[in-house]
């Protein structure tokens, strides 16, 4: 355990403690942001599969309004993932630093690395949502 986590010392230096709290909160937020895109993807996946499964089991067919609604949900999911991805891209800050790998392990590096990871996850989530949507367009009916 480093001195930073020593409670005695924290009480001594309130300014440093606040700074630390702020930094921690920010990283906690970007941890949420990192999971946002995959969460949207899995929510969309569950929505599509459950809704179609229930429609097929109960009605034997997928009504047009349901297909339409799920397509709208796809568009919304893609837009949300796009937004998450854009923010992550900004956080990664690769265009300013030209730094792909953020290897130093400092706070700034960690911050950018989390952006990088969130950005890549947003890409794969985007592709995932597109692939999950394709059967909606190409396979009609329940068989």
């Amino acid at each position: 355990m480093s001195a930073r986590h020593d409670p005695q010392r924290r009480r001594d230096r309130p300014a440093e403690r606040d700074e630390e709290r702020r930094a921690f909160r920010e990283e906690a937020e970007s941890l949420v942001r990192i999971t946002a895109a995959p969460t949207i993807w899995s929510g969309h996946f569950l929505l599509c599969y459950c809704a179609v499964a229930i429609a097929c089991a109960k009605a034997g067919a997928v009504p047009g309004w349901l297909t339409g609604g799920l397509l709208a949900a796809s568009v919304a999911a893609l837009a949300a993932i796009g937004w998450v991805g854009w923010r992550a891209f900004r956080q990664w800050n690769v265009t300013d630093t030209g730094d792909f790998s953020n290897p130093e392990g400092e706070a700034e590096d960690r911050h950018e690395f989390l952006g990088h990871a969130a950005f890549l996850l947003a890409i794969i989530s985007f592709i995932g949502v597109v692939y999950v949507t394709m059967p909606l367009l190409l396979v009609e009916g329940c068989r």
Partner: protein, 328 residues
């Protein structure tokens, strides 16, 4: 040594190519459904070979031919282009293609539906021609008219099986308590082979069937005959066989329409002598095979749900065989 190596390779190639022809091959299609899947396979195989060559060519180039550092932009471009953009587009295109084939293989039938119920390890088969109130019951063989789309409604007894006639189309799983559907259209008359394609226990590998695609007239005549009761075979041995069938209690498990035997545990034997195989593709339907099946059931088909009648004398087995082979 080299020469034998080359000869072995050539022989192996010839063998594996021979495996592509034949009556149980997705690569020698007997209908449009299998042809569509065959094309998909060849395109994917060709694409995979191209990609393999390209990838290894690039590996070779950057490690052996020109091992100097690459410009950063080019390297990034290759990683993003070749690692993300290209696979996304290729997989998307393949997914779209595959999904567009799916509905074709589920088209409604042109009138005839065949219900197939997977058992361990055989197939209960019911023909439902258009408007039929009751099915024509059969087992372990599928007959279908050429040039007509036939619907297959599939389910299963206890475990998951999979219904697959590779030369006619894709496979479809059979679940207990849940009906699945696939439709097939044979274009060329012929005898194809189907095989259970989902591991279902000890004798899974012996769970097969013959699939006979016939000209429509011949099919209609066959179905009429199949719907009828059994005609008692004539001749001393066959008549003794009929008596043995009753004495040995075979009718507890097997039905022969037109006799008092109504068992439902095993396959319907009303026209078993007219089938091309017995024991779900296990043996050709010859009198010798019937005798062997009855007396060596469990060694021919491990785990089979029919007792071996190994106490029967050769003469009794032959008499039973004559009776069964005569049930055409």
């Amino acid at each position: 040594m080299r020469l034998t190596g080359a000869a072995t390779a050539a022989a192996a190639a010839a063998l594996s190519l021979a495996g592509c022809a034949g009556r149980q091959s997705a690569l020698s299609p007997g209908g449009a459904d299998a042809a569509a899947l065959g094309t998909l396979f060849w395109v994917m195989l060709g694409g995979a070979v191209l990609l393999w060559l390209a990838m290894n060519g690039m590996f070779f180039y950057v490690t052996r031919v020109n091992a100097s550092a690459m410009p950063r932009r080019l390297a990034n471009g290759m990683v993003i282009g070749g690692g993300i953009v290209l696979p996304t587009i290729l997989l998307g295109a393949l997914l779209g293609w595959g999904l567009s084939i799916l509905p074709d293989q589920r088209q409604p039938d042109d009138g005839l539906t065949i219900r197939v119920h997977g058992e361990q390890w055989w197939w209960r088969v019911e023909y439902w021609p258009e408007g039929a109130a009751a099915p024509v019951v059969s087992a372990n063989e599928i007959r279908l008219p050429v040039g007509e789309r036939v619907g297959f409604r599939l389910d299963s007894d206890q475990v998951i099986h999979s219904f697959w006639i590779p030369s006619l189309g894709g496979k479809m799983d059979m679940f207990p308590g849940r009906e699945t559907y696939v439709s097939l259209e044979a274009e060329a008359p012929g005898v194809y082979r189907g095989q259970c394609a989902e591991f279902c226990g000890e004798s899974h590998a012996w769970m097969a069937f013959e699939a006979v695609a016939m000209p429509p007239d011949a099919f209609d005549a066959w179905l009429d005959a199949e719907a009828g009761a059994a005609a008692a075979p004539e001749g001393g041995a066959a008549e003794r066989g009929a008596a043995l069938f009753a004495r040995e209690g075979c009718g507890a498990c097997h039905a022969i329409r037109g006799t008092g035997h109504v068992g439902q545990v095993g396959p319907d034997l009303t026209h078993v002598g007219g089938r091309r195989s017995i024991g779900a593709g296990r043996l050709a339907a010859t009198p010798e095979a019937f005798a062997a099946w009855i007396t060596h059931t469990d060694s021919l088909k491990p785990g089979v749900r029919m007792p071996s009648y190994d106490h029967l004398s050769d003469a009794d087995a032959a008499a039973l065989a004559a009776y069964l082979a005569g049930l055409t």
